[in-house]
Subunit: 252 residues, 2 copies
């Protein structure tokens, strides 16, 4: 089945947080989003990680919003002084930030009345004109403004928010992916591999060296929205590694 005539929208991820850039926290959102956008036929083109700095956030979100169909942000929407993402997104797009009645209602339903305070209600300040993104974990919503989807940084919450909002994204042709791993090092096959790539422009072939159980090998990852073109490449790649007497470790 050929589905190459359905173009792939592009997306970017903006990760906001000093804790990622200081090394304290390992990001887990890039891989989750990359994988799940791929399943929908949306191509993640770029990711940026910036600190909790107003001009860094504004510059990055405007650049990424202009260059892509969708931008996702993660981090910086909590109640504390270092949570400045919402205010920055509002400023970036010249939108007024005001208390959102629906967001406030959700927070008041989630917290006991005596636990509601001004800091928590700050999480109900949402740019005017934005749509809310549900937060089934801890109530405080994300939001969508222009083509920017503003989500929490905590992976469990980010994933729940993405699951709740992905039906709104327009997917494209889904990229089919195949991995052929074999016990041959890149250098032996590089020239012929380049020829196969040149002859098959509908398929993107990536070559990744690995060391497994002390043995060197290469994973050849073929990606395409065209199944027939992908099959043609796979036949050629299998012949290539067999010619070099390699053992195929993975073909799926």
């Amino acid at each position: 089945m050929n589905n190459t005539n359905k173009p792939q929208p592009t997306a970017a991820l903006l990760i906001i947080g000093n804790e990622i850039l200081s090394g304290r926290t390992k990001d887990a959102n890039l891989n989750y989003l990359a994988t799940n956008l791929g399943l929908m036929g949306v191509r993640l083109k770029e990711c940026r990680v910036v600190s909790d700095d107003e001009s860094a956030i504004i510059d990055a979100v405007l650049a990424l919003s202009k260059a892509n169909d969708y931008v996702f942000t993660s981090g910086g929407i909590g109640p504390t002084h270092d949570d400045i993402t919402t205010a920055c997104i509002a400023k970036a797009f010249g939108a007024k930030l005001e208390r959102n009645a629906e967001a406030e209602a959700r927070l008041r339903k989630h917290y006991k009345p005596e636990d509601i305070n001004e800091a928590r209600l700050k999480m109900a300040d949402i740019p005017l004109g934005a749509d809310l993104i549900d937060n089934p974990v801890s109530a405080a919503p994300g939001f969508i403004l222009e083509n920017v989807y503003v989500m929490a940084g905590v992976p469990r919450i980010m994933q729940a928010m993405f699951d709740g909002v992905k039906h709104r994204l327009k997917g494209g042709a889904v990229t089919l992916s195949h991995t052929l791993s074999a016990t041959v090092t890149e250098g032996f096959i590089a020239t012929e591999l380049g020829e196969i790539q040149a002859a098959n422009p509908l398929v993107e072939i990536g070559s990744y060296p690995f060391i497994r159980d002390g043995k060197l090998g290469t994973s050849l990852v073929s990606r395409s929205t065209d199944k027939a073109a992908l099959e043609t490449v796979l036949t050629q790649l299998r012949a290539l590694v067999q010619k070099h007497n390699a053992i195929i470790l993975e073909d799926a």
Copy 2:
């Protein structure tokens, strides 16, 4: 000991590779570099992940090079068609790409004579004027051009390259970091926490919610190059969480 008068150089990381953006591979280089630069007093200000695309790589490396003291790149310096980083860096800075005698000698020493081929020798093509970065794992060197440090993407090799080159970096004041984790949720302490932050501009206080053994809590991370200022903040933070009857889980 106060070492705030030694400024911190800034750095950026540019990760190059379709495999990260497709979700196939989880990046491990950002966290390694963030942690190790921090130990030297170099502040990682930004990270970008771009695909194996010439203009994306060139645009990103020039922007990051201009804005930072150091840029590190990872990925795309192998022998295959999708390894285009070296050529892009040369083009970005208008440097001629030519066979480097020292790099070629290292490859010829590493491989058996019959295993040397043009694809592998491509890894000895280095921009004119660049310094080589040792690769103790698989011989093919990285290089330094202008303020850009070009390294392999495979974490083991990237780490070995960084270890070999870090003595060339000029470090700054080392940031001291302290984490105070307690069983109080962010919303209860956010207002007072903001006041402590405002009163202590030499310390950067980050607030990170967590769920541990089913219990909600907050990690307060204080970072500063000024030990006395950090101690002042820690005293105030301990008093803050104790006022809220929180149990301190981590104070180190």
